[in-house]
């Protein structure tokens, strides 16, 4: 259930569900009302219904599985992928988008990797089956199979 109101980075009048997947923690957040985002990669404001699926590597810093009535902040998590669906108005003011959308929009950032990084990763992302999401970071191909 979502309550109409405002949230900042997923915390406020939002509900979140944290699900443990294969090598990943999936955070599903729903907001009805205003949803303000302050991160440099996705800063903006959505007004309407917002559903965000965030995938973070499974680590001690990740939130514990369960339901969170006032949402969970993912601002400090190293996210591997994010899918955000908005029905309403979405204003973006970040390095990937400066503008606005009215209607339905789906923004997915599958990878955002600094240019000086040497890494190997495999991601299987199924938004309708969060528990089936797979994320692997490895040094050799064999350990990622």
């Amino acid at each position: 259930m979502s309550v109409s109101g405002c949230s900042v980075n997923g915390v406020g009048f939002s509900t979140s569900e944290v699900i443990r997947a294969n090598g990943a923690v999936v955070i599903l957040t729903r907001t009805l009302g205003g949803a303000l985002r302050t991160g440099p990669d996705g800063a903006g404001l959505a007004i309407g219904y917002t559903k965000t699926l965030a995938v973070a590597p499974d680590s001690p810093a990740a939130p514990r599985p369960g339901d969170y009535v006032f949402g969970v902040s993912v601002a400090d998590l190293p996210l591997a992928a994010v899918i955000r669906r908005v029905v309403g108005i979405d204003f973006g003011l970040n390095r990937e988008m400066v503008g606005a959308t009215i209607g339905f929009s789906e923004d997915a950032a599958f990878a955002r990797i600094p240019s000086d990084t040497s890494m190997l990763r495999r991601l299987v992302l199924s938004p309708d089956d969060p528990a089936g999401i797979q994320l692997r970071f490895c040094q050799e191909p064999a350990s990622c199979e």
Binding site: R112, R122, V124
Partner: protein, 149 residues
């Protein structure tokens, strides 16, 4: 208090957009954007703008063009090395499934070299298993670069 006119406001906004547009991408970025409705936006990293009325879907890969590297004690600049196999399945207007195998930096260069190595077929086979889009191809790319399947 001094109140600035609308023309000055427009000039300030334009200056901010120009400054943002001058930013060089510093991250490998794979993204998908779908809109049904009205969308007006500028992409500062790619330096372009778009106005959409109706339906539009874009899948983009942005590879940094200028990465600092150390080579024989000298600092050089080159495009980022990346080896990517990605597969996006869309049903209607929403994403159903996305799979990706990705290597960046030195790891991408090493994998690309091993992919073409004639004397290490086992290593090449493992890499082809990992990067599934190379499984049906006889010859790998000469230089690693980003790509979408």
């Amino acid at each position: 208090m001094r109140v600035i006119g609308w023309s000055q406001k427009v000039a300030v906004i334009a200056a901010v957009l120009v400054l943002l547009s001058a930013c060089e991408p510093a991250q490998l970025y794979l993204a998908n954007h779908t809109v049904v409705g009205i969308n007006a936006k500028v992409n500062p990293e790619q330096g372009n703008g778009i106005l959409v009325i109706g339906y539009d879907r874009t899948f983009a890969t942005v590879i940094p063009r200028s990465v600092e590297q150390q080579e024989n004690g000298l600092v050089t600049r080159d495009a980022m090395s990346a080896l990517v196999c990605s597969n996006l399945v869309v049903d209607g207007i929403t994403i159903r499934r996305y799979t990706e195998s990705l290597a960046t930096g030195q790891a991408a260069t090493n994998f690309a070299n091993n992919l073409g190595a004639q004397n290490n077929a086992a290593a090449a086979a493992k890499i082809k298993n990992f990067f599934d889009c190379f499984q049906d191809q006889g010859r790998p790319p000469a230089n690693p670069a980003g790509g979408n399947q």
